[in-house]
Assembly symmetry: C2
Homo-oligomer: 350 residues x 2
DNA sequence: CTGAAAGCGCTTACAG
DNA sequence: CTGAAAGCGCTTACAG
């Protein structure tokens, strides 16, 4: 933070200093001032020091937009997530933000609330701002191809809509889902419900696939009625979960495909006075703070959104460096945080 | 999202279209193209339509940085918060982001992790980008004066460091703290600890003041050893809380000054097998998701960070419109979400 | 070692 | 009704 000018009467200057003002005050040309300030090109050391001194005295901060316009290269990246209020996306943004700062990039952030229309608008805003690249948790396939067409590097994170066409950083959803489902099967559960939001995106598709694979591996037939689509919203999902748990033949365990759905199931179980894990076992995909605060703790696939964000920005900056390098999909494995929310099914207990 | 050009071989153009290209393709001057596209100034309707058609066909997206450079006005705002991983700040960012989009502003977001150095760097980055204004949860008094000196409108949110010198949107911390403390006193508690992170910022200062006022109002003497400074980090705070609750003369109730501290106290109580509210009553300042998920739910002052963010951006845009209007501090009141974590102290029970 | 000139992509008085 | 010119704040070959 540089010192600004203060007039003798204590008032502030009306306009921000420009390089022209710095140059005039230092008695050099704008070219020389620019070279002195950026460090590009030669300037006699005493002149350089004088120019820098003057700039500091004037509180001069170079106009990054003008610089970028001239250089045709920006130091901003665009980040587009689905819901900042969800700790998963917030963590992702936190990881990206931290790395961006470390690498001297600035972050434009937008939240599309899951809407493809808003996503498209945000993408256009990023193009207008000529960001160096975009990181997105996509809600449509269009955003990837649109940005590619506009020659803006993109990395899809969490979900992948343009596999092979653009870089991506995703979690190994299938394996993680399979692992936790198997743990439930191993405990003796047979009626394991999958509560999910949608099954077309890679996250939903792969979590569903992992769940199915675990059943297949164990040679256990799967009751398709136990795969329930519960929507996006906690309240709507809570109602669906309530119905599910009130069935005449209810599941003995639930695998919630994300943290919002896990919350919905948790609330529905409380409404029905179902004890966990006594009457119901619960596992979640995506480990968020409350899961280790409640009793019993909720066993969950821990994705580390911060690491996901960091990997995404690394990937993006690599892509900016090497636009023609082969497209890459980075697969991050996830761990399972085992807590107290699972136990053998009640019917198996003596 | 506009259609881009696709060459006959399916490849994309190498460079992004500029207004010059649009103008040439449409057979008009750049001035006319600009007028047609922006809607400023007159253009014969058929010409206007043709230009717009051409622009769409070329996938033309005007360069916002060039436009802003020319107009000396930007449509971006800078937002600087302390910790995106904390749901309070994430909610704040979500509220701001949503309103920004609605008003056709774009948001630059940075996270200073509570460091004044990082805060200063971020402020300078915002100045470099010539944002139209900044919203900040300040960690020092310098950021407000620095940005003011740079002629950039600022609104402080949540905390206030430059009262009177710049706009602010804050919660009525003193009243809310007083209310919850009084509730505890009314239940019969006398040994009510305040677990707090710091007491110099307005948030800490006013929450402490409200707590003291409630004691004074009730004519109950305050044991100063019950005001404990527990630091920023959940783990460090958990250790402090553990010590507090293990004292020979422990408190019968704890007022945690924010959500992180409430989490620390909650964990410490669990470690010590203290039942809530049987052996310990707990109230929190700042209501976050887990507090309604645990059993019993945690009684908390609910701040509505999204509303706080929305108020902040309103205030900022007003300020941008009227730079010389009197400085304003908006005080938002908070409600108390009463849940099951409080009860009369054990010693009062029969 | 330094400065004049050109130009990044826009918009906007101004002249006709 | 439209276009030529200037200029926003920078940087960078290039000439000297």
């Amino acid at each position: 933070m540089k010192q600004g000018r203060t007039a003798p009467d204590g008032s502030y200057p009306t306009r921000r200093a420009t390089i022209r003002e710095v140059a005039e005050t230092a008695g050099v040309s704008r070219s020389t001032a620019s070279r002195a300030l950026t460090g590009n090109g030669y300037v006699a050391p005493p002149v350089r020091d004088r120019v820098r001194e003057v700039a500091r005295g004037l509180g001069y901060v170079p106009d990054a937009t003008a610089r970028h316009l001239r250089q045709q290269a920006s130091r901003s990246i665009g980040v587009l997530v689905s819901d900042l209020s969800n700790p998963f996306y917030a963590g992702l943004a936190a990881g990206i933000s931290q790395q961006a700062r470390r690498r001297q990039y600035t972050m434009m952030l937008a939240d599309d609330g899951g809407s493809p229309t808003v996503e498209a608008e945000a993408a256009e805003a990023f193009v207008a701002l000529r960001v160096a690249g975009v990181i997105v948790t996509p809600v449509s396939a269009e955003i990837g191809s649109y940005l590619a067409r506009q020659r803006i590097p993109v990395v899809e994170v969490d979900r992948q809509f343009s596999a092979g066409a653009c870089d991506a950083v995703v979690v190994d959803n299938a394996n993680a889902a399979r692992t936790v489902t198997r743990q439930l099967l191993d405990l003796g559960h047979r009626r394991i419900a999958l509560v999910i939001d949608e099954m077309h995106w890679t996250t939903g598709r792969d979590r569903l696939a992992g769940y199915r694979t675990a059943f297949a591996d164990a040679g256990v037939p799967l009751d398709e009625s136990l795969v329930v689509t519960a929507g996006w919203d906690v309240d709507a999902a809570r109602i669906e979960a309530h119905k599910l748990l009130s069935r005449s033949e209810p599941p003995t365990a639930v695998f919630a495909a994300n943290n919002v759905l896990a919350e919905a199931v948790w609330r529905a179980a409380a409404e029905l006075d179902l004890t966990i894990p006594g009457q119901l076992s619960l596992v979640s995909f995506d480990d968020v703070a409350w899961m280790s605060l409640v009793r019993p703790g909720v066993t969950a696939v821990a994705q580390d959104p911060v690491a996901l964000g960091e990997a995404a920005i690394s990937q993006l900056l690599d892509r900016i460096q090497a636009p023609l390098a082969p497209v890459r999909t980075v697969l991050l494995s996830a761990t399972v945080a085992s807590r107290g929310s699972t136990a053998p099914p009640a019917t198996n207990r003596r």
